[in-house]
Symmetry: D2
Subunit: 353 residues, 4 copies
Amino acid sequence: MLFKKQKKLKVAVCGGSGYTGVELLRILHSHPYIEITAVTSEKSSGKKVSEVFPSLYKFDNYVYEHLNKEKLLDKADIFFCALPHGASQDTVDFFYKNNKIVIDLSADYRLVDPKIYKEWYGLLHKYTSTLKKSVYGLPEIYRNKIKKASLIANPGCYPTGAIIGLLPAVKNKLIDVSSIVIDSKSGTSGAGRKADLSVSYCEVNEGLKAYGVGTHRHTPEIEQELSFLAGKKIKVNFTPHLIPVDRGILTTIYAPLKKKITEQEIFKIYCKTYNKEPFLNVLKNNVFPNIKNVRGTNFCEMGLKLNKRTNTLIIVTAIDNLVKGASGQAVQNMNIMMGLDETTGLNNPALFP
Amino acid sequence: MLFKKQKKLKVAVCGGSGYTGVELLRILHSHPYIEITAVTSEKSSGKKVSEVFPSLYKFDNYVYEHLNKEKLLDKADIFFCALPHGASQDTVDFFYKNNKIVIDLSADYRLVDPKIYKEWYGLLHKYTSTLKKSVYGLPEIYRNKIKKASLIANPGCYPTGAIIGLLPAVKNKLIDVSSIVIDSKSGTSGAGRKADLSVSYCEVNEGLKAYGVGTHRHTPEIEQELSFLAGKKIKVNFTPHLIPVDRGILTTIYAPLKKKITEQEIFKIYCKTYNKEPFLNVLKNNVFPNIKNVRGTNFCEMGLKLNKRTNTLIIVTAIDNLVKGASGQAVQNMNIMMGLDETTGLNNPALFP
Amino acid sequence: MLFKKQKKLKVAVCGGSGYTGVELLRILHSHPYIEITAVTSEKSSGKKVSEVFPSLYKFDNYVYEHLNKEKLLDKADIFFCALPHGASQDTVDFFYKNNKIVIDLSADYRLVDPKIYKEWYGLLHKYTSTLKKSVYGLPEIYRNKIKKASLIANPGCYPTGAIIGLLPAVKNKLIDVSSIVIDSKSGTSGAGRKADLSVSYCEVNEGLKAYGVGTHRHTPEIEQELSFLAGKKIKVNFTPHLIPVDRGILTTIYAPLKKKITEQEIFKIYCKTYNKEPFLNVLKNNVFPNIKNVRGTNFCEMGLKLNKRTNTLIIVTAIDNLVKGASGQAVQNMNIMMGLDETTGLNNPALFP
Amino acid sequence: MLFKKQKKLKVAVCGGSGYTGVELLRILHSHPYIEITAVTSEKSSGKKVSEVFPSLYKFDNYVYEHLNKEKLLDKADIFFCALPHGASQDTVDFFYKNNKIVIDLSADYRLVDPKIYKEWYGLLHKYTSTLKKSVYGLPEIYRNKIKKASLIANPGCYPTGAIIGLLPAVKNKLIDVSSIVIDSKSGTSGAGRKADLSVSYCEVNEGLKAYGVGTHRHTPEIEQELSFLAGKKIKVNFTPHLIPVDRGILTTIYAPLKKKITEQEIFKIYCKTYNKEPFLNVLKNNVFPNIKNVRGTNFCEMGLKLNKRTNTLIIVTAIDNLVKGASGQAVQNMNIMMGLDETTGLNNPALFP
């Protein structure tokens, strides 16, 4: 579907009062070809967006409404769903079947195999035929499919950083895929916007902890995509950590090298792979990324090291979990689907410091 | 000077490796009518901007050069000077005398009276005739003068938050101006980008302190502008504090009421005064601002309270010290001088969280 | 009541799962003459203290129990009540009437006048005769009364920093008490331990705001004590702010001078007043305190400035809101009541950085 | 050497103005059998300790002096050396040869092989015979040797967390030692107290980065001790990260299991190994540690996970880098050497929040 720039695209945001929701609104606000026509929130329905998020002072005319699918249907051409896992199934299916463009930020349409979805999320998938139409929205792998898709399963925040970091190494069979370690550290916005003691300031500040060790739900998502890339089943060690910053995910990846290869050659393979990617930057000369440098952007920076002493490839990637890890990537996917320049609305440099 | 949008304005940033410098580059990067033609830094000359600030990855073609005034002269039409106090005097005078537009972010051309400059900054002003041509760049007061100016003294960060908060009250003679208390709290970027133990992480984090109590150099700047507004000499109690955040200034102002007046009436006066201001927002119903909601924006939010028990007006303002308190206001001034929409390049909502 | 050191004092902590509760346990743990015999919590009853607070790993034998007054009565000689305002009334009265030593950390027994309590807390005081027996537990004012008391109303965190800062000035009639401004900034632990969006990490971090402007409940407490000191009714402007640190309150106080007096003379009056106070430190030579330097201690540091330009006295005090502002002061009061060295268990230097 | 408690041990701190120095002073201040007789600092000599560190207000009588070895010799029985790497060689050798007890917090006497020291630190070891007398001060391995030693090489912060985490697994041959991954995250105090842009607040706050990837100097120290435990040469992947907190190191360790074994059995092995260790706590039931819970303590907490999907053992340890990772462990070593209860002066619970 190619977009004619004469008139603006009508966009609805379902689930607009969480952190990915407010980030979507922030990004869409600066998008020149977009018009937001509806924003839903169950908790905040009836309230102005600018009241719930004073940072969105320009949204003085937007009022949260209940997610009434039938009522919303005619309001928009494109539906971003930033709903909780599980809750997204119905809504996405409904808009998809009514010929709308749907970009789902939940996990509901990411896992190809409903059995794995059931295993990790404890839920039955009720729309397996719709699930089959879903395209995993990582442009660095699926750009061509995304162009033709009308249902996007927007990747999880951790999988984005992990898969981008590993893609060139797995695809080019540089590493032994049987013992990959993915150690991720995420800012607290990744835990969502909620009244919960575990994310209260005095519990998180000056702290650091691992969580979901060996059991985090992003594991099968990472494994699915790496397995596709490798052409065989891969299992990974993935450990997320909670760090006292608002935004950002740093992912440190370790994998034994399979080939005889120099660091310089690896660097070239990474550069070649990501050469034309508008949001990826492979850092040179043992420079490693800092989440602070990508804050508020759709950028992913990465650094590489061949540890000769252990013959291990170490890759470090940095993204903003709310942008490239969620809402920015969602807009990137929309741009691709609409035939727009992929970076539209996503060009701002990071806010530093 | 009205700007024809056909071709881009050539802009040079003198002193582009401090926090106000990098913020200028960030904002100018998204400005549609601007082309950056030179960036100077003494410490970092010869280095790429993107090497010093990886957050500015898009500035891969920009290399810091030494500030060679003669060499720079033909490169740009507009010169932003983000140089240290004192060091700015010569440079500003040179470009001004060579018929360039100059926006000075230092304090050198802010104080009308060179004696007061000498008293607080310990420096002789060598260009008093140029000083007379300078316009204090607070659009909320001097918009009409700014339109015709070619030398702008961009206000200090603390004065911006303090003067905007007091302007309607002073102008409308609501308060006793003889005992104003201005208690300000600033993020650490206000201290500049420097290798100094006093701003090192472990000294600032989890801390809070007052500094420059009764002696801070922004005091005479606040007093000058309030005195102009009041039509008589005003002295204020101004105390800055250092808080462990990157950005933001919250200013809490206390002044005894002179008139019998209701909170609602005061609110109306504030709203009327700032009605058409594109970057000012007077909050209703005892809502008070949070610096987090203006982070990365040129916005100033303020809240009001009439404390009837003490007959005191309490005003709280929030700005981002690097944007409305420095580089954003500088670009706002440039927009006004160039006849552009005042908000060009400054429309983004705050990055939250 | 003088304490024989041969056997340990039996102490119960009612309300031990909030931040003042856990801080009490931390301090009492290092107290040589104390044995904790009961800890209550409604939410966490049945759980080990070390499970709720892994930082208290040494409390592996303590299990939270419900607050059953009758059951608790024989378990302890001293009862610390760290219960919510209102909820404390009954419990305190019960233990007091049963001849126990009670140290109440709530506001219920602080305000001498039940009408003012009603006005600010919206609650009727049901035990006005017990209220009359209560001593306001600020040792710097009431040490002699505390020695003989068996019911202590432990001061609020903000009042502690404000009153200590103003005491010498008010007592010695240095200042015009009709226009005192008290601008306080508190760490987030002051808001209590709770699942609430307003104290969640991403809302507080990188933010700063004023709250309860002109209406905070600590106002009448500050006014009561200052009025006693001045010998006449005083009303103050008190504004609390929430800052992104765990602990600490910095209070900046402004008051017009009434007398002709030098800074040096004021300094001498402050030093003389606080000369023998074990936890107070008046800083010299325009040095001002930082909350970071008193973190985890019962210390209060203060700095002074006579602003000659405005004839205003500026006082800045720093305390740890959970120690001198709550649990540490409670233990200090217990030490005084028991005839122990006042600093017992409270001698540790600050944790820096 | 057994200590008679009648008189206090005389202790000198060489290099007392860094973060490990100030932490030593903080801990020693509460140590009942210690008297500090000298504190040195080159930068701050002549200044009061309490002036440089207002948190140490009780050290009003201590003045920093230059490190004059001859002059210091008679002042103390025990010398803590918290000097920079390299600078420690001479000083340690001098006091050791003069029959003093020396606890060296630098890396100079940790590596058994001077060639490896040369390789990683770029320095020749001038005192190889003294080096041979040095005992690596990790009580969990070398307690008996420490008892008889008079020169202790106090372990590095990262090695402490890594070795303690791996000890039971390596010793009991549970894991394949050829592909251990050690991913560590350290608070900023680990970088030392210095005026350096890289540790300035606005660079560190809201950021996260890896550094020294594959090249950090603590690598050979970890490898040395693990090799001793395994009885063969081990090389590890060790990546440190800088996190925006003051204190704490969280270390996440991954190693393939060699044996068929259940998580419960591993847990038992860990518990048995660390059963009698006064500062080690093995958490049960997939609970993982948080650095916040050990802040200010000499404690090391650890959690375990057997990831059955990948047959990998995951161990997470948390320490305070300035206490168990430096000054606390140094005092623990002193206690052991002096025949004191090992926990003397180290019993305080963590400061939480």
